[in-house]
């Protein structure tokens, strides 16, 4: 197993943090763009770029809603995104276990 087995869409620091953060929400929940930006610490432009990449891969979705009269952009993971993150996590664990086994030998 090599690093090529890791999903390149997820295997980037900012997008990985985004995916993990959104995965903390219950299914059916979303997080506002503003709160997400505050938690991740990216500039709005940078965050948009990464979110678009995740949306293009079908891992995240954004939706404009109205909350208390103000427009809000709500971000959430799709079921495909959650599954992809689970697979990524499993692949990463296998990779690290294999690397540890090689070191021990």
């Amino acid at each position: 197993m090599s690093e090529d087995s890791l999903d390149p869409v997820i295997h980037a620091p900012a997008r990985l943090r985004l995916m993990v953060t959104l995965a903390t929400l219950q299914e059916g929940d979303s997080l506002s763009f503003t709160r997400l930006q505050e938690m991740i610490g990216l500039t709005p432009g940078n965050l948009i770029t990464h979110l678009r990449k995740l949306e293009d891969a079908g891992y995240a979705r954004t939706a404009k809603t109205i909350n208390g009269g103000s427009p809000v952009t709500a971000v959430s993971l799709t079921p495909e995104g959650r599954a992809a993150l689970t697979q990524y996590s499993a692949a990463l664990r296998e990779l690290l276990d294999a690397a540890d086994a090689t070191v021990r030998r």
Partner: protein, 231 residues
């Protein structure tokens, strides 16, 4: 709960391929990022259940305990003195303020099923408490003694909290918390058979003890301070 300013990303400044290029990431770094991001998100987005439940235990202990101190020795039973009710009101205000601060911070920006569910629970608890005091008033208006109506006033709120906790905890499969809800329901029902003075003492100690046991069970199960989702 919501955004006070328009929350609508524009096209972004400088968004483009330059920002998309990130340095290659070592798998160990990826694992560390996942761990830290997960812990950070849980801390930010999940209200601290143990702190909230400990606060609830303290409020029930102090409020009902204060009233018990105020009514014990009353012959005949006259009900809680004004000073006791004043202290109770102050303690409740402090708890509600603290609770709102904790929950609102975690819930800020979170939308969807959890937000709707939380609002439903709050409305149910509020309606339940209003109903309890309305029933108390109705009993008094129909001639019931203050010793009788105060049984409702003491046990009623505990019953409301117990029902709410048992309901949401069962839905979330938090069985230790659901058991606490059932315990509170049992305490409320059982303490109503006590005298008007004793009911305040029972409702001070029994719920707080139940909460302490629940927190200890969860801490032992999780192996550390646990966070309860959807308190």
């Amino acid at each position: 709960m919501g955004e006070t300013t328009a929350d609508s990303p524009g096209t972004g400044n400088g968004a483009g391929s330059a920002m998309d290029e990130e340095p290659a990431m070592d798998p160990r770094d990826a694992a560390a990022i996942m761990r830290k991001a997960s812990e950070h998100a849980r801390r930010e987005l999940t209200p601290n259940g143990p702190v909230i439940y400990a606060g609830l235990a303290l409020v029930l202990l102090v409020c009902n305990g204060i009233v018990w101190l105020g009514v014990r020795g009353q012959r005949p039973y006259l009900g809680p003195p004004g000073w006791a009710l004043g202290v109770v009101a102050g303690v409740v205000v402090i708890f509600v303020t603290g609770y709102a601060a904790i929950v609102n911070r975690a819930a800020s920006g979170v939308g969807g099923a959890t937000a709707r569910w939380r609002r439903a629970v709050y409305l149910s608890v509020a309606a339940g408490l209003v109903a309890v005091f309305a029933i108390e008033g109705g009993l008094r208006a129909s001639g019931a003694s203050i010793a009788t109506t105060d049984l409702v006033g003491a046990s009623g709120p505990i019953l409301v909290y117990g029902l709410a906790i048992a309901g949401f905890a069962s839905a979330s499969r938090q069985w230790a918390t659901a058991a606490l809800g059932l315990w509170l329901i049992a305490v409320a029902a059982g303490s109503a058979f006590a005298s008007a003075t004793t009911v305040w003492g029972i409702d001070a100690i029994a719920p707080a003890a139940g909460i302490a046991i629940m927190l200890a069970v969860r801490r032992g199960r999780i192996g550390g301070p646990g966070r309860l989702s959807r308190p």
